[in-house]
């Protein structure tokens, strides 16, 4: 059951960074292959609008 972990231990790391951009920069500083996902919180919907949407959907 630990094959996938042992495979990771033997592989070159290829990292998806989601969130704090500076962790991505840290990976780049270490010459690690990485991509960065720019994450934004979902837009805030006012509660009354949410209630209306809840009724419609």
């Amino acid at each position: 059951m630990v094959e996938k972990i042992l495979k990771l231990f033997k592989s070159e790391l290829k990292v998806v960074n989601i969130g704090l951009e500076f962790f991505y920069k840290s990976l780049k500083d270490q010459n690690v292959k990485a991509v960065h996902v720019v994450w934004q919180p979902p837009p805030k919907i006012e509660k009354d609008l949410q209630d209306i949407l809840g009724k419609i959907l």
């Binding site: 630990v2 972990i5 990771l8 998806v16 989601i18 991509v35 805030k44």
Partner: protein, 540 residues
Amino acid sequence: MVIVKNFVKKNFYRDSVQLLHLSEEAKKIEGVVDAAIVMGTDLNKELLEKQGLLTDEGRAATDNDMIIALKVEDSTNIDEILEKVEKLLTAPGETTAETYYYSLESALEALKDANIAVVSIPGQYARDVVLKLLERDIHVHLFSDHVPLEHEIELKKIAYEKGLLVMGPEAGTAIINGVALGFANVVNRGPIGVVAAAGTGLQEFTVLVSQAGSGITQGIGVGGRDVKSPVGGLMTLLSIKAFEADPETKVIAIVSKPPSPDVQDKIINYIVENTKKKYVTCFIGGKTFEIPEKLKGRLVQTKTLHAAALEAVKLVDEKLYEEAKKKLFLPKEEIIKIAEAEIAKHSEKQKYIRGLFTGGTLTFETQVIFKELIGDVYSNTPLNPEYQLPDVHKSIKHTVIDLGEEEFTAGRAHPMIDPTIRLLRLVDEAKDPEVAVILLDFVIGYGSHPDPATAHLDAIKKAKKIAEEDGRHLTILAHITGTEKDPQNAKKQEEILRSAGVIVLPTNALMALTAALIAEKKIDEAKIGKFYNEFLVGKY
């Protein structure tokens, strides 16, 4: 005339580290005396107030709004300055655009063979992202905090079934294949595998092992809740299984604050029944347990990170251990000498310790050691609930503060990155005539401030001056969790601190011991001997 202006951008989000960087850039704009760009949380508003940077406009901002607080030489060119700040907010990063993606799907499309993900988004949103990653057989380092417990249980059960790692939530550190993920140090590779439910515990352990001349295969952070009953140690157990099967790993260390008793039993029983390798346990502040007959000689129980690192090295190579003991970890005669010299400089009135920590595990370990040597101490995270500080911003008697806790970090970067909160607190503590010793941890490595020692210099000098002008000597002790190979270079950091009159100790445990001796104002050699035997070496 210098004036302060606040501008509020409604519903405008940038992460705390980006904002810290933007604040630094804004300070460089001509005409700007001081600047802070922060999200409008209560904590940030309180700090702006302390820094003299808050106006009524800023006061009205909410958690979802961004405050641009500027102190400028005069108001004539304020529009021009604001325009420059706005430009900073929209400027693209220095990195090339082709590695930036706006959806997980497109990022995974670009890096098809991704094998691990680092997730650091607000905790309430983490579940959906991690589920998608696990579906694609990608291991996860989940840095986020505030992930609901039920989400953690769900994610870890799925991961366990699939044989995938979910490191976290609230895992600050991991070192996989020598790569630092989150906050982590550049340490030697070697035969010791470590699984830790304690972020700075993992950092201190790996750093000390490396300084002792050995190294680690992998450092797996699993998050503090992994060893509590609801999660049941799922990732700790999976990591042990992986290390047991990994041909590179010869010695396995398990580091955490006290696990729930049922989880501790489960871990120990698993080791008894299913393993053959050598083990070091370091359940800081936990109860000592009877080592099962079958594990005698191949499991060492330790009480501090200092002892855990030394014992792990000993299991690898006895000779290396003997050298490390002499070279790295000060003998008690040295500690006594340091303490006596400081005691002689203090007045009768100076008797209290104030620990200002950035590392949670280091705060905890310090309290565990103090409990043994000087009793319970006040804290925002006390061992004994009766010692909870009523106001976390005001110390009482002996106080040890974890500045990485929520009340100091809501909407701002962690104090390992942004030292502002600690600098203000350090100067405050120096004003108290009853304070004898201040403790500072410097956790360096990837993720942390690029030069924390220099960033603390002015505040250290100011604190010492305040005490001097009042006819007192203020002792400042520090410990650096870091190596010479870290980007900040531990040795350079140490030199900078020493140049400001700071006493730097080689381990967190020794810093706590030294502080306790100074505060007690007397040297009890028997007690120190007992401490060395129980806390700095392991039990077989």
